[in-house]
Every structure is written in structure tokens, then in C-alpha cells.
């Protein structure tokens, strides 16, 4: 959890938005995941989200569905994702967050998972289909282990839920930029920046925005408003369409490209 706060602070103090790339763990192959992470960190990533592949990713669009299917075909499970984390943690201090559906964690055992994830070097997790109403038990286990259970907020959450969720936030808050599933979009909604600014005024933890972010312009549009921005499907697609020998380099290059938008444009504040 400490690593998360420090990463946002370091980046934001420099007047830049934190970049949080997402990769499906084990895609395109389990061996490549640590090398991809290193390449992204080298290119300016501040935190890393590792997706735990699931057979029924109902919050994901086609790109991440395909990535999950490829990872599952390699036999990747929550257990082997923790092994990848150990490997990365052996030489890197980058904050690592798991992005998972609830059932794999539930089957692992909430307490056992929390203990082993913390020991492996995980900093926190985002559990897509676990709203705060169902999350008490996992949050307690996470708190005991110093792991951050990062909540999601959506455009439909409304004020009362937003306040409640913010009060339960650990690490940061993940704001879903639009109703829908994960996936790159050409345009962000017109109101997004104003929504995010309103949210950051209410929140005592950093606010990161995800879903649909795919270009330096998107990053710039949020820079100065949000503390961080998550880039998922666009990166996954980039890796998937590269030749295996070039994927690691391509991931880094794409992130560097996005990072050109990390300082606010003329309208940016803070």
C-alpha cells in the first residue's frame, strides 16, 4: 500500500499524471509477463495492473476477453499469477495491483489469498464484480495484510454511493470513464474531465481513470484533473499484434508514446 501512495505522489509532484498500464498476466505467454512489466516501468509506468484471466470476463470487451483466453490456454491461474509477481518483485519495486474477478479469489480462500499475495509482493487488487456491499470480508483480510482493495466508481454511482465508496477506498479510487466494458475508444465523453474534477475534490485518496484510454490526447485530457490514468485494452492489443520477439519493446514504445500526454495541456490546472 505504501508503494502505491509513494508512486502517485512522486509523479504528481512533478506535475504529471501517473500512468497505470494493464496487462493480462500470462498473455501472450507466462514467460513474457515479467519482461513486459520491466519494459513498461522503463518507459515510465508508475503502477502496474496485472489481469487475472477468467473464463467468464463479463466486464471485459473483446480485446481483454481474447487475452484472457490466450492466458488460460497457457494454464495461467491465480496461483501462477502470484508466481509471476514474485519474479517481478525480486528485482523491481513498482507497485503491483491484481485486476481480478471475484470467484478465483473466493476459491483460493480470502485469507489465504491475502496472505500469499502480500508475501509475494502484491500491493493491492481491483475486483471487478465485487461491489463494496459484498466486500467486507475481503477488505478486512486485505487490511490485515496491508493490501489495498481499490474500489471502482462509475458514472452511474450517484452521490450517496460515491461518498460511501470513497470512505472505504484504499490505495486509490478507480473511476470508470463511461458505462460499458473495457476496451479502447476513439473519444472520451465530453463531461469526463468535469466529473473527475468533482470526484478529486471529494476524495482523500488518489483518483485514477480507466476504460477507453488509448492515446496521448486522452492522457492529456485527464492530466491535471485525475491523479492517474489506466491504459488497458489499447496496450493489450498493441502487444497482441506485435511479433513475439518484438512485443516487449513494442509495449515500452507504446507507453512512451502515451506518456507524451502526461503533462497538462493549456486548460490543465493543479
Amino acid at each position: 500500500m505504501k508503494r502505491i501512495a509513494a508512486a502517485f505522489e512522486r509523479r504528481n509532484r512533478a506535475g504529471e499524471i501517473a500512468l497505470i498500464p494493464y496487462l493480462t498476466a500470462g498473455d501472450p505467454s507466462p514467460e513474457m509477463t515479467p519482461a513486459l512489466v520491466d519494459s513498461l516501468v522503463e518507459a515510465g509506468a508508475d503502477l502496474i495492473e496485472l489481469g487475472v484471466p477468467h473464463s467468464d470476463p463479463l466486464a471485459d470487451g473483446p480485446t481483454n476477453q481474447r487475452a484472457a483466453a490466450r492466458a488460460l490456454a497457457h494454464g495461467v491461474t491465480l496461483k501462477s499469477v502470484l508466481q509471476m509477481v514474485r519474479q517481478i518483485r525480486s528485482h523491481s519495486e513498482v507497485p503491483l495491483l491484481l485486476f481480478s474477478y471475484y470467484n478465483p479469489i473466493l476459491q483460493y480462500g480470502l485469507k489465504k489469498f491475502s496472505e500469499e499475495a502480500a508475501a509475494a509482493g502484491v500491493d493491492g487488487a481491483i475486483v471487478t464484480d465485487l461491489p463494496p456491499e459484498e466486500a467486507d470480508e475481503l477488505r478486512e483480510s486485505f487490511d490485515e495484510q496491508g493490501l489495498a482493495l481499490v474500489p471502482l466508481l462509475a458514472p452511474t454511482s450517484g452521490e450517496a454511493r460515491t461518498r460511501k465508496i470513497l470512505s472505504l477506498a484504499r490505495g486509490f479510487v478507480y473511476y470508470v470513464s463511461r458505462t460499458g466494458v473495457t476496451g479502447a475508444r476513439s473519444n472520451l465523453t465530453a463531461d469526463l474531465r468535469a466529473e473527475v474534477e468533482a470526484l478529486t475534490r471529494l476524495s482523500t485518496t488518489p483518483v485514477a481513470v480507466g476504460f477507453g484510454i488509448s492515446s496521448p490526447e486522452h492522457v492529456r485530457a485527464l492530466s491535471g484533473a485525475a491523479h492517474g490514468v489506466v491504459v488497458g485494452s489499447a496496450l493489450v492489443e498493441h502487444v497482441a499484434s506485435s511479433r513475439p520477439a518484438e512485443a516487449v519493446q513494442a509495449a515500452g514504445a507504446f507507453l512512451r508514446h502515451l506518456a507524451t500526454g502526461r503533462r497538462p495541456g493549456p486548460e490543465g490546472r493543479r
Binding site: H54, S55, D56, P57, L58, A59, G61, Q65, L72, T77, L78, K79, Y101, Y102, N103, P104, I105, L106, Q107, Y108, T128, D129, L130, P131, E133, E134, P151, L152, L153, A154, P155, T156, S157, G158, R161, I165, V176, T179, G180, V181
Partner: protein
């Protein structure tokens, strides 16, 4: 009666495991439904559509020749196969279409396995002038080509789902993805007692008309309560629909019949209570067919409507309480039962419902002579004629 708690739990089962985007819309749906179920105007509107459009009440039919064949028990069939569109599914889609209208949503979406729920949704969409999209696995579209055509005839858009096992589970994933994207103007008519709260409660509410009618009818015709109720269970909506009105009648045994498929090996059946464990799938905590890492197992059943990896949470609870029993019937037993009812009674049962009749065939000898049984004949078998002919190579 027997409602879930405020968090949508039947005992430890149920709940609301969905992306944050859907939480407020589900709360709104719960609020509207909670209001409507006690609103007399809504109730009479629903009654009228069920009577004049869906064809209710359905008969409770004493199957005399089949009863004789089974050895001196008295078997009644609750004729949901005679409902408009050919199955009990219309009870729920009528109800939810009215709810959608009250919420001001002008687009509805649905998933379908056997196609019966898709057809019932397409019908009410046409009836109420709502736009309609139905998601269906490509494997199921092959098995149920006729139903795909029926949906299109009624103006629904049918979207092929090619992900995963290409069956009901994948169609639900896709419908949820549509809903999370278009939730502001779209109502999702989930077709069974599955998914996040309030769906298991709301679908039960609309299906429990089956048991209310059956209870009154059997008292009139037989002068007493039945000894046994039997229904097939995919998600479990026709079963809970029949059982619910009898839950407080202690003398009435109830059995839900899951798909035993081709055997007990992983991927060969959809028997969640014998091959599964507790877990979360598609919004609810219940019994699920899954592997050790929490990924969902493939399922198999000759009947597309039972071919699903999770069972409705209230059934998990009723089983835990010991109030209802659960058993299985294999593909082969279901096919045999399909023929037997066709030959004895001139009624082609759906392959789903044939699992319920198959169970009774197998167990009949152990029942007291004169025992009174109600089987929910949840759907008609016309849609399955091609599949049966294909499997058996007849002409």
C-alpha cells in the same frame, strides 16, 4: 413469504456481484419492483395480459394413460407447454416488460439457451412496442434454429455469441456487457431465477403463478394436496414457480431434476449439486460447476435450456434447508421419457421437461400406490423434434 434478506440473500446464497456501473440501476430496479408488486393497478394489468395474451390459467391435466403405465399413481401435468410461445417463460417476460415500461425503458435485451426465453421476450417486445435484442450462443443457435427464426419474425435482433462454450452462460455474459453499456435506456429481462438481486426474487414472483394455480386446481380436482412435485432445473425458474406456493405445505415433497448429461465426468453434465461447489457466477453466490482455480467448467446436456453451470440461489438454499430434493436425469433417460409421454398422451414435451418426467419414470415404482404427483410440463417439444430426429437418426 420466503423473501431474501435486504442484501438479496437466501441464507448465504444470492447477493449482488456485479460491476459498479450496475449497482445503482439494480437498486432502482429493486425499488420499482418492490413498489409494483404491492400495487393493485399493476397487479390487475399483469393478470389481464397473462389471461388474454399468455393464455393463463393453464390446465392441470390428469395424464391417465401415463399414470397407468407408471403403475397406479396419479400424475398431473401442469400444462405450461400450452402457454403462448410454448413454455412458462412468457410468465416472466410479460411481468418484466411491464416493469420495464414503468421504468421508462424503451429497449429490452435478453439471453436465451433453448430459445424459449428469447422467443417469449421477442413476443412481449412486439406486444409492448419495445426494441429487442436477444443474445444466443452459436452452438444453441444450431440446436434451435427454428426458435431463432421465430424471434426474428417477431422483430427481435438475434446476436450470435461465439465466446467460450457458445451456450447459455456465454449469452448471459454478452447480455450483461450490453446492459452495462446501455443501462440508461435498456432493461435486461433475465430469463431465470439467476443473476444479481433482485432478479431471483423478481423472476420467482412472476413464475409463482404456476404453483398458485396448480395448488388451487389440485385441491379442486383431487380434493387434497399432492404428495410430490417434480420439475426440471436449469436456472430453476419453472421449478421455483411450481414449488413456491407449496413451500409451507409440509406434506408435499418437491424434487428438482438437473441435467445428468452423458455421465459424471467434468464437462459431460450440468448437475451442479453433485459435481459443483459454491462460488460466484454472473452476479450470484450459489452452486457452480468450476475447476480448482475458480474458472467455470463447460457443461453438457441434450437440452439447451438445462445446459448451464450455475443453479438459482434459492434452490441452493432450499436444498440446504432440506425442504427440496435435487436429482438428475441423463440425456438418454430424458429421450426415453420424451417418447413415452408422446406415445401415451399425445403430448410432445420439451427435452427440458422430459428430465422431470424421466425422473418420475425412474422413481414411480417406489411411490405409494395412489400417490398424487404434479409434474411441471414447462415447455412443449416442437422445438426439439429436429434434435431428437438428428440424435436418433430417424426419418
Amino acid at each position: 413469504m420466503n423473501d431474501p434478506d435486504s442484501s438479496g440473500r437466501f441464507g448465504s446464497y444470492g447477493g449482488r456481484y456485479v460491476p459498479e456501473t450496475l449497482m445503482s440501476p439494480l437498486a432502482e430496479l429493486e425499488e420499482v419492483f418492490t413498489h409494483l408488486r404491492t400495487d393493485s393497478g399493476f397487479s390487475s394489468e399483469l393478470q389481464k395480459v397473462l389471461r388474454d395474451y399468455a393464455g393463463r390459467p393453464t390446465p392441470l391435466y390428469l395424464a391417465e394413460r401415463w399414470s397407468d403405465r407408471l403403475g397406479g399413481i396419479r400424475v398431473y401435468l401442469k400444462r405450461e407447454d400450452l402457454c403462448h410461445t410454448g413454455a412458462h417463460k412468457i410468465n416472466n417476460t410479460v411481468g418484466q416488460a411491464l416493469v420495464a415500461r414503468h421504468m421508462g425503458k424503451n429497449r429490452i435485451i435478453a439471453e436465451t439457451g433453448a430459445g424459449q426465453h428469447g422467443v417469449a421476450t421477442a413476443a412481449v417486445a412486439a406486444r409492448f412496442g419495445l426494441r429487442c435484442t436477444v443474445y444466443m450462443g452459436s452452438e444453441d443457435m444450431k440446436r434451435q434454429a427454428l426458435n431463432v427464426y421465430r424471434m426474428r419474425l417477431m422483430g427481435a435482433e438475434v446476436v450470435t455469441v461465439d465466446a467460450g462454450s457458445r451456450t447459455l452462460k456465454d449469452a448471459i455474459n454478452e447480455a450483461m456487457r450490453d446492459w452495462v453499456t446501455n443501462v440508461r435506456d435498456t432493461h435486461y429481462i433475465l430469463g431465470s431465477v439467476l443473476g444479481p438481486h433482485p432478479y431471483p426474487l423478481m423472476v420467482r414472483y412472476f413464475q409463482s403463478v404456476i404453483g398458485r394455480e396448480a395448488r388451487q386446481q389440485v385441491l379442486e380436482q383431487e380434493g387434497r394436496l399432492p404428495d410430490l412435485l417434480v420439475a426440471c432445473i436449469g436456472g430453476g425458474s419453472n421449478a421455483i414457480g411450481l414449488f413456491h406456493a407449496f413451500l409451507n405445505d409440509e406434506s408435499v415433497r418437491m424434487v428438482g431434476v438437473e441435467a445428468g448429461g452423458r455421465g459424471t465426468a467434468r464437462g459431460q453434465h450440468a448437475a451442479r449439486f453433485t459435481g459443483g461447489r459454491r462460488g460466484v457466477l454472473q452476479g450470484t453466490y450459489t452452486w457452480i460447476l468450476q475447476d480448482d482455480s475458480g474458472n467455470i467448467d463447460p457443461t453438457h446436456s441434450v437440452s439447451a435450456g438445462l445446459d448451464y453451470a450455475a443453479v438459482g440461489p434459492e434452490h441452493a438454499y432450499l436444498r440446504e434447508l432440506g425442504r427440496c430434493e435435487y436429482s438428475t436425469a441423463s440425456d438418454k433417460e430424458a429421450l426415453n421419457a420424451f417418447h413415452e409421454l408422446s406415445e401415451c398422451e399425445g403430448i410432445l414435451p420439451a427435452l427440458e421437461s422430459s428430465h422431470a418426467t424421466a425422473y418420475l419414470r425412474r422413481q414411480a415404482a417406489g411411490l405409494t400406490p395412489g400417490a398424487c404427483v404434479i409434474v411441471n410440463l414447462s415447455g412443449r417439444g416442437d422445438k426439439d423434434v429436429d434434435s431428437v430426429r438428428g440424435i436418433e437418426g430417424g426419418s
